[in-house]
Each structure stands twice: as C-alpha cells, then as structure tokens.
C-alpha cells in the first residue's frame, strides 16, 4: 500500500468503504442505512461524506478519484453492504444483474438515458421506471465497462460510432414521437 496521507481512513472509514457507500446511496439506501452498515453514527458519516470529497479536490494527481471509481465499481462485493440491498422488482433485479454482464445492453441504455435528457426527461428516473435499474447500479456498470469500451473504440472507432449512432437514432425517434415530433422536422433541404 502507498503511504499517501490522502488515502488514510477518515474516522476509520476507508476509501473502499466510502466508494461502496456512495454506490449504495445512488441505488436508494438512506444515509442512516449506509452509516449503520459502516458501523458509525450519522454525525460521523456526514463528516466522512464531506471529507473524502475534500481529499479528492486536494489531490492534483487524480489518484484518489481514480481509485474511487474503481472501488465504486466493486461495491457489490463489499462485505459491509452484502446484506443490504435496496428492494427491486423481479424484472428490475434481472435487468440490474444484466447491465453488469451484458455490454451491449449497457451501451444501448446509456444512449437511451442521454437521449431522454435531450427530450427533457429525467434520464435516471426513466431507466428506473422502464427497466427497474437504480442509478447507483447503472453507474457501477458504467464504471466497470468503461475500460472495455475504451478498448473497443481503439480497436474499431468507426464500428463503435456507427453503433452509437444507430442507438441514438432509435431513441430519438422514440422520444420525439412521445413529444409530438421535433421542432424542425418539417424543414427539409
């Protein structure tokens, strides 16, 4: 382990603990639930939740934030949260598991989420409503697929772009229909 003082636990809560806690809060656990899973009371948790981001702000090497992303992606394996899962529908639980194992499923929904925002929808809520996947789990999947997707882009830039464009076109059509079309649909060259 490194001797980096910025990585020392805060009130006994390590960066691994903190990252997993953030992922779990993103998936619907309350501050009280997270504090109790970490074995601390709310005032201790709130200081931790204030001071870890301060460490990230102070670290010009971006090392802490990189580690945070890695640990965030491993939140499901964190022993302190293994008995504490937010309640999901059966379909939601299936989709939540699938987005972490099926790269194409993740890639398509990531585009759908962005296009939802472009049409004034709350994209995170849209994913939850339609697929039952909480934002925290979506971000865990994003963090885990990130590296693989970078490799895909390097290997086949055009193929990747074409796939993204196809997803985008599909969801633009979908959301535009729900809004009664786009503002400039009738203007042609």
């Amino acid at each position: 382990m490194s001797e980096n003082p910025l990585l020392a636990p805060i009130h006994g809560i390590s960066l691994e603990d903190y990252s997993a806690a953030c992922a779990k809060m993103g998936s619907g656990l309350s501050e009280e639930q997270v504090a109790s899973a970490l074995g601390v009371e709310l005032p201790v948790w709130q200081e931790v939740n204030l001071l870890w981001p301060e460490r990230m702000k102070q670290d010009e090497t971006y090392h802490i934030i990189t580690l945070f992303g890695q640990y965030f992606g491993q939140a499901d394996q964190h022993p302190k949260f293994s008995n504490l899962q937010p309640t999901l529908s059966a379909e939601g639980a299936d989709n939540t598991a699938r987005i972490k194992t099926d790269k194409a499923f993740y890639a398509e929904l990531e585009v759908a989420r962005q296009v939802a925002y472009d049409y004034g929808q709350d994209g995170a809520q849209w994913i939850l409503d339609n697929y039952g996947i909480p934002l925290g789990d979506f971000q865990v999947a994003a963090s885990n697929w990130n590296e693989q997707i970078h490799r895909d882009i390097e290997a086949d830039f055009e193929g990747y772009n074409a796939q993204q464009a196809a997803y985008r076109a599909k969801y633009e059509k979908f959301f535009a229909a729900a809004q009664g079309g786009n503002v400039a649909d009738d203007i042609e060259f």
């Binding site: 702000k57 296009v115 472009d118 004034g120 929808q121």
Partner: protein
C-alpha cells in the same frame, strides 16, 4: 464524353451549383427562423418555471432547458448532415467530372466550385454562431439562483431556533453554540450527555451552495481574470483568494479544508 478540340462546357453543373447554393441558404434561413421562434417562446417559460420551481436543485427548470438544448443540437446535426450530403457531395461529384485545374476550362470550373464551397461554408459558419448565441440565451434566461437571500433566511431561521432545544436525557435547555451544516454531537451543559443535533434541510443546503454563493459574490473578479489577455496568473490568484475568503465567511468551519483546496488551485494556475 467530350471529344478532342471541343471546349468543355457543362451548363447543367453550373445550374446545379447555383440551385444547391440557393437551397442551402434557404434551408439555413428556415432553420434559423425556427430556432428564433423556439427561443422567443421558451425564454419567458424558462423564467417562469425557474421562479416557480420549489426544488432546491431547480430540476424542473434543468429538464426544460435540457429539452430545448436537445432540439438545438438536433438542428445542428440536421445542418451538418445536409452540408455533408448536399454540399460536400456535390463538390466530390463535380471534381470527378470536370477537367483538371491545370487546363483553361478546368480552371474556370474549379474556381466556380471554390466560390461555391466558400459561400456555403461561410453561411454555415454564421448559422453555427447563431445557434451558439441561442444556446447561451437559453442558458442565461432564468438568471442565477438568489443564494444570498436563501443564505440570509437560513441565518435568521437559525437565530430563531438555536435556544429551543432540550437535552434528550435530562430535559435541560441546550443552546446550539453556532450554526452547523451537518449532523453533529452537542453536549448538554447540565448532565454532559452527548446529544445529536441534525440541522434543517435548509441549513444543510447552505453548505451545499456555499461555493456557488462565494462565486456569485466574486464574479466580477473572475470575469476580469478570464477576460484579461494575455493571461495574467496574478488576477486568477486574486480571484481565488477572494472567492475562498467569501467561502470561509459563509461556512467558517470549512476554512481548514478550503485553504487546502486553495493551495491546489494555485498549483493548477502555475502560481505556486
């Protein structure tokens, strides 16, 4: 094809170039008019929704704005696609049929194509700038959150409640010694029991918005630093110093952490 000794002449191509240019200009005129129409209608709505949005993060306004920006970017893509297909498409096709630039006839047609390309691209550039202005107008329509008033209201609210708590163990009166922004332990002066004080949602938001408020208070210094050419690191340092000072005034208990962040900011501007 053209035979020997015959002058190259392609009136159909000239007509197509002229027609394409006219269509392109008319197409962008129409898109610009629609953008103007959408912004004119949207700006008062953005203001109203922002003013009426009770959500501390103004999410309804945020989604409305995002839905408008989404349309602007679709319109941008529409123009880019047409430029690629119709303008560049015609240029590539024409370059394939006209004589080489080194011949007298070829030179005339290449010149025509060049003029066409420049006129179309310049028009597109103007369109892009107008879209950019429209984007900025939408973003700025609602103005900034009035964080100063929200902050003052929270200070007053705290003054009004700070003496109204009792020890959960002995019932003795506890005065909250200062304004807290996160949950914290407070000792009972009578029985020494550690009570937990949880600030109101509004007080917690003060901490959340403290940097934004400090930035609002020092915006004139940031603008000066950003607009001064050539870049002057001293002005950036002065801005950061003033911003951090304001931040510390709003949430004094964060001063220690804010000062460490200030060191980081100095390193980033190469002034350390």
């Amino acid at each position: 094809m053209f035979g020997f000794g015959r002058k190259y002449d392609n009136p159909a191509l000239i007509a197509e170039i002229n027609e394409t240019q006219q269509r392109w200009f008319a197409f962008l005129d129409k898109l610009e008019a629609r953008v103007g129409e959408m912004c004119a209608a949207a700006i008062p709505e953005l203001k109203t929704v922002f003013a009426q949005d009770k959500d501390p993060y103004k999410r309804a306004h945020g989604h409305l704005l995002s839905g408008l920006q989404g349309q602007l970017s679709l319109i941008r893509t529409k123009a880019n696609d047409a430029r690629e297909e119709k303008i560049n498409g015609l240029i590539y096709a024409a370059e394939g049929v006209i004589p080489p630039i080194t011949s007298a006839e070829g030179s005339k047609y290449h010149q025509l194509l060049h003029t066409f390309r420049m006129a179309c691209f310049n028009r597109h550039h103007i369109f892009e700038e107008k879209l950019h202005v429209a984007m900025e107008k939408l973003q700025a329509a609602a103005g900034e959150r009035d964080l100063e008033t929200a902050y003052r209201e929270q200070l007053e609210a705290f003054e009004a409640i700070k003496d109204k708590f009792n020890c959960q163990q002995c019932g003795g009166n506890i005065t909250i010694p200062k304004m807290f922004f996160i949950a914290t332990y407070v000792s009972c002066p009578f029985c020494q029991t550690q009570n937990t004080f949880l600030p109101s949602t509004g007080a917690q938001m003060v901490l959340h918005d403290a940097r934004a408020l400090a930035e609002q208070r020092t915006a004139h210094l940031r603008q000066l630093a950003e607009r001064t050419q050539p870049r002057n690191p001293d002005l950036h340092r002065q801005y950061y110093r003033a911003m951090i000072n304001e931040w510390n005034k709003i949430v004094p208990d964060m001063a220690g952490e804010n000062e460490k962040f200030y060191e980081r900011l100095l390193k980033d501007i190469g002034h350390y």
